[in-house]
Symmetry: C2
Subunit: 452 residues, 2 copies
């Protein structure tokens, strides 16, 4: 336990909650998910509780390779960079993490968007770098299907390197605003990148000055081999999926070894496993609430979801029978983290229907259900055992599970001294306890001066 308190991140992809059918719940929001007020209230509730950050996931497509997707799944949503920018203007402390795809955007554009969000929010922006695993996404960007897995991660590494270089292209002291002399900037501190790589050619400099955080916090989500290697080489934080405290401790050891290969210390890297928190008066009530959500899943959607995750069309298989042989991971170009989650259940002899229901429920993310005290106990336990630096809170149903957590679990953690009662000053990086990165160009100049 390197940190002295856990990090809490409030997550959503579907604005109705992370259960795939949460939108059908009687208390789920309707059309208001298309407006701003809904999100403002959600985020302000999190900020009142001093939650460190929100994390809005994103895909660049709807889910429609299967027929039920369009009809029954809550595909329509806002774009997260516009949403988080709007939220930046009405919040003061909370971190703003979102996803951008290294496969389907341009480094110069992504560098600008996050740099600008970091300025607008005074150092609260964070980029979840994803390589995009869905065929549906590829088809919106000139391709017929998904890009080969290893290639995606190579491209992502080059992409991220360019973006970091662009963020460095203005040194921290480059801006002079010297009205008398007429020097707006010191030209020695503004740098052309002139990147010429395998996938990209980008000159720079950026037209946004260096972000307050130096580099907005870099996060990576998903636990494939490539994903973990990418994260430990390039990221500051990692959203992982594991089910037990013991798995978490082993996961940390594995990650530490990978970090060491890059000369990095464990403290430079935070692991936030996903949990599915349900606050209720009792464990039984929490279970009832989960069971109720499961009844909202049309069978067809469950099977289609499983088809998407496993890469096999399962529509003709008996729902109460077993899964057929799954594709080999090493040649699978879809999401490997997801495939492996399905594989785990297959080895437990679950039926298609049973696996589908688990999937709908945020996959293999462990449910942490019970009274505020019980939930706080478990979070503290994982954190103190070194199984987690904090948690990615994947609420089944919004807004209520989110608001209940903020209003009931957080105060319980605060009473125990396990979570701060005020935001510490500084940027999101400061709150995550990771250093502001040095500027590569400033370092080069310092080295040149030392030599000459």
């Amino acid at each position: 336990m390197a940190r002295n308190h856990m990090i809490l991140s409030a997550f959503f992809f579907n604005p109705q909650g992370d259960h795939r059918m949460s939108w059908r719940h009687p208390r789920a929001p309707g059309r208001e998910v298309l407006g701003f007020d809904y999100y403002r209230e959600l985020v302000q509730a999190a900020e009142r509780a001093r939650i460190d950050t929100i994390f809005v996931a994103d895909h660049v497509s709807i889910w429609d390779s299967v027929k039920s997707g369009v009809a029954h799944y809550a595909n329509a949503r806002l774009e997260p960079l516009t949403l988080l920018s709007a939220l930046a203007g009405v919040t003061r402390h909370i971190g703003l993490i979102t996803t951008a795809s290294s496969s389907y955007s341009e480094p110069y554009n992504v560098a600008r968007l996050f740099a600008s969000l970091d300025h607008i929010s005074q150092g609260r922006a964070s980029w979840n770098v994803v390589t995009s695993a869905m065929d549906e996404e590829a088809r919106n960007f000139g391709r017929d299907g998904n890009i080969e897995h290893a290639f995606r991660y190579q491209r992502a590494a080059e992409f991220l390197d360019i973006v970091k270089g662009l963020w460095d292209s203005w040194e921290d002291e480059a801006l002079l605003f010297d009205k008398d002399s007429g020097y707006f900037a010191d030209p020695d501190k503004v740098h052309v990148l002139d990147h010429r790589g395998t996938h990209f050619k980008v000159r720079g400099p950026l037209n946004v000055p260096r972000p307050p955080q130096g580099h907005p916090l870099i996060v990576q989500a998903g636990s494939s081999e490539d994903g973990k290697n990418f994260a430990t080489a390039h990221a500051d934080a990692h959203f992982a999926i594991y089910s037990t405290r013991e798995d978490g401790i082993k996961y940390r050891e594995d990650i530490n070894e990978r970090l060491a290969r890059h000369g990095r210390r464990p403290e430079s890297f935070n692991i936030l496993p996903g949990i599915l928190p349900i606050v209720a008066a009792s464990e039984a009530e929490a279970r009832d609430r989960q069971d109720y959500l499961q009844t909202l899943l049309p069978d067809r959607v469950g099977i289609d979801l499983l088809s998407s995750w496993s890469g096999i069309d399962l529509s003709a298989y008996p729902p109460d029978g077993p899964l057929p042989q799954l594709p080999d991971e090493s040649t699978f170009n879809g999401g490997r983290t997801s495939l492996n989650r399905v594989r785990q259940w297959a080895t437990q002899n679950l039926t298609l229907r049973e696996i589908a229901r688990k999937l709908a429920n945020s996959g293999s993310v462990p449910t942490v259900a019970g009274t505020p005290k019980q939930i706080a106990d478990q979070l503290q336990d994982w954190f103190e055992a070194g199984a987690a630096d904090g948690f990615n809170l994947m609420f089944p149903l919004l807004p209520e599970d989110w608001v209940n957590f903020a209003e009931q679990v957080v105060p319980e953690l605060q009473r125990r001294g396990a979570f701060p009662t005020e935001y510490a000053p500084g940027t999101l990086r400061d709150r995550f306890g990771v250093a502001r990165p040095a500027n590569r160009f400033a370092e080069q100049r310092a080295n040149q001066r030392a030599v000459s």
Copy 2:
């Protein structure tokens, strides 16, 4: 005069004002241009005055092909989509226009960003479609220099067609939110685009539902032949550059002919010429203020600016001599609108230095200087003569010229009944008096039903 009142749009590219050296003015903002508060106050001042819209211009590079650019020009700025999104959250009525480049972004991404901003702002988003004319921009996106002029506009037409198609991919009634039946959407009203064109292959549907405006208001800026043809074929509004009322009347006639070729009526299209408003106690004071701004322009910057605009390296030419022969427009790949502005002055026998000073001063945009009454007179005169549907207010110095206009000229126009005292309800399109576009897919379905 088809409209019953003029449209007012408050513009900036440089957040210090449109004079190229405004940042040096003693009352210009400094570092605060990198924060949000500066813009919030600016926009709220405009909203209090019921100004219809703000327009934030954008380039995807700094200006550094010439040496003085980095040192003396205010290159560093925020990215406008993040900025306007943040402003959407703290305003209620004012329109939010910004630029995105059809040459250096992906249609799916641009469609999402503007659709989402339109939802967040409840129908106030507008996209200024540009093709990007600078070599510096091309070099940030894998190219060695600018793309050929006609090619850029062909690509832009295809790009915009895709974006409009994506905005239509969810029909207005596609979303059901039907919790009982489990139908989130009506699959018959969600459409794959399956665009396969010369420049792009994009499947769709978008993952953002149809924007409140149907399509965010489309604007185009710049008066090259290609630009005017593009605008009259595809846009709802046009930011033009002309100097006199008579030119404006002729300009409108020319535009009406072009519109007619596309079967469009003049009322479907608003022309907003740029003006440079300076509110002062007298004309003499206004002139003094302009002259003072000119003293802030280092000679070197003026000549470099002129080199950029004319596509000729002028650094070795005598500043008090004439311009050399200018490039031929028909083969010029840079900004042709700019080149033509330079050509006009060259024929007036101005020296390099004189042209440079004019350029620094927002180019050939006419200055409208004087007391609030005098300015209101001139705007009313142009508007009533049919020389303009409204004005793009390109203030030399921010925030003061902006605030002075909002607090002094607008009330004068309102007293005369020439400008409304309240925002009319509805979207930005409603305020511009242009129809909400029909949905191409809904029309196709209606036609099919009619046939079968």
